[in-house]
Each structure stands twice: as C-alpha cells, then as structure tokens.
C-alpha cells in the first residue's frame, strides 16, 4: 500500500522557472491538501481539494496553482519561481468528515536560486 506519493523528492529551480510537484494517493480519499513547511515553522496550507474538479485556496496560495482532474492526483504548479518559495512541500490526503487523520507524503524539498 503506497499511501501518498510525491515526486520529485528534491529539486533546484532558477528564479522565474516553473515546475509541477506531483502527488498521487491510492486510498480513494476525497480530500487532498498541499502544505509548505519553512524552517522552524509549522505547516501552512497552500491549496486543498474536497473532490475531483473542486479546489480552493488555503492560507498561502499566492504563486501556486492546483488542479484535481481525478480522485488520485493533485498536482501543485509553481509559476515564475521566487526565492520565497524555497521550502519543503507536503501533500496529504484524508477521508471526509471530522475525526479522521491526514496521511502525508514524504515531501519535496525545493530550492529556488
């Protein structure tokens, strides 16, 4: 059982480049999330989705875009990368409703130079 899989694990981008962080889950969870974690900080919610075709902004959405064409996949797009987007990115999925935990991927460490 793979759970939540993120690719790539590491990436270095130059300022102004763009990339897509991939996330896929095999637990048939409707809810999916993208978080970023900066050094010494907690996880901040970037975007979330409650099902295929439905996405919404979290706390820190600027500079990012998402799509959710299938239940399994929730890619995060960075357009015009900036040094402020240097962070570790985590994708997570969860069953709907209260009282359930979120399952996280291993993370993508992104450096923008």
């Amino acid at each position: 059982n793979a759970g939540v899989t993120q690719t790539p694990k590491f990436r270095i981008l130059k300022i102004g480049q763009s990339m897509t962080l991939q996330c896929t889950q095999d637990m048939n969870h409707n809810y999916m999330y993208w978080y970023r974690q900066d050094p010494g900080m907690g996880l901040k919610l970037i975007y979330y989705s409650v099902g295929a075709g439905i996405t919404d902004k979290g706390e820190v959405p600027n500079g990012y875009n998402v799509s959710r064409s299938t239940t399994e996949d929730f890619p995060l797009r960075l357009e015009l990368a900036a040094p402020s987007q240097t962070s570790v990115y985590f994708c997570a999925s969860r069953d709907p409703g209260a009282g359930t935990e979120a399952f996280f991927g291993q993370g993508t460490r992104l450096t923008v130079v």
């Binding site: 939540v4 901040k44 979290g58 997570a92 209260a98 935990e101 291993q106 993370g107």
Partner: protein
Amino acid sequence: DQQVKQNSPSLSVQEGRISILNCDYTNSMFDYFLWYKKYPAEGPTFLISISSIKDKNEDGRFTVFLNKSAKHLSLHIVPSQPGDSAVYFCAASEKTGANNLFFGTGTRLTVIP
C-alpha cells in the same frame, strides 16, 4: 495569525522518564486535535488524536489531554525511548468545511539514552 501554538521549540528528556509536550490554540471552533511525529526527510506521521467531547485519550505509551476551558492540550509519553526523538506537531481542525488541519510550529524532542 498562528491559531495553534507550541511555545517550546525543543525538549530533552532522559530515557525512561516522562516527556510532556504542550500545545495551545485560539480558535474555539476547533473540535478535533491531533499529534503528528516527524523524522528528518520524512513526512509527518499520525500519532494520536482527541475529540473535543473527551478530555483524555490513551494509546500505549502515548496519552493526550485536552483542557477546553484553557484551550490547551498536552501529549505525554511514558516511558520515553530514544526512538521517540523527533519533531512533534500539534494540529487542530474544525468540524465544518474541508476539515483543514492547522499546525503548530513543532517541538523537537530528544530522548537521551
């Protein structure tokens, strides 16, 4: 505005003793609380949770206590083991909406053999 706060960035405990990690929150709409454990270069993994209708939940060596009037929860680990050394995140969610998780900044626990 940090809705979930962990005011101790680090904690060191001798093996076999009790570890107590604290968490405070400001949003009275939170009704489900979770603790996650995170090792370096890995995603957070779920440890234990508690619903707002309870004041205590126990799972083996791990117990979470919730004091709703004080908006405070704590995680007790007894006895502490070297393998417990990790960063512990407190998280909270509301009953409504997409049950987004709001995270604290984490406490790095070191268990000294």
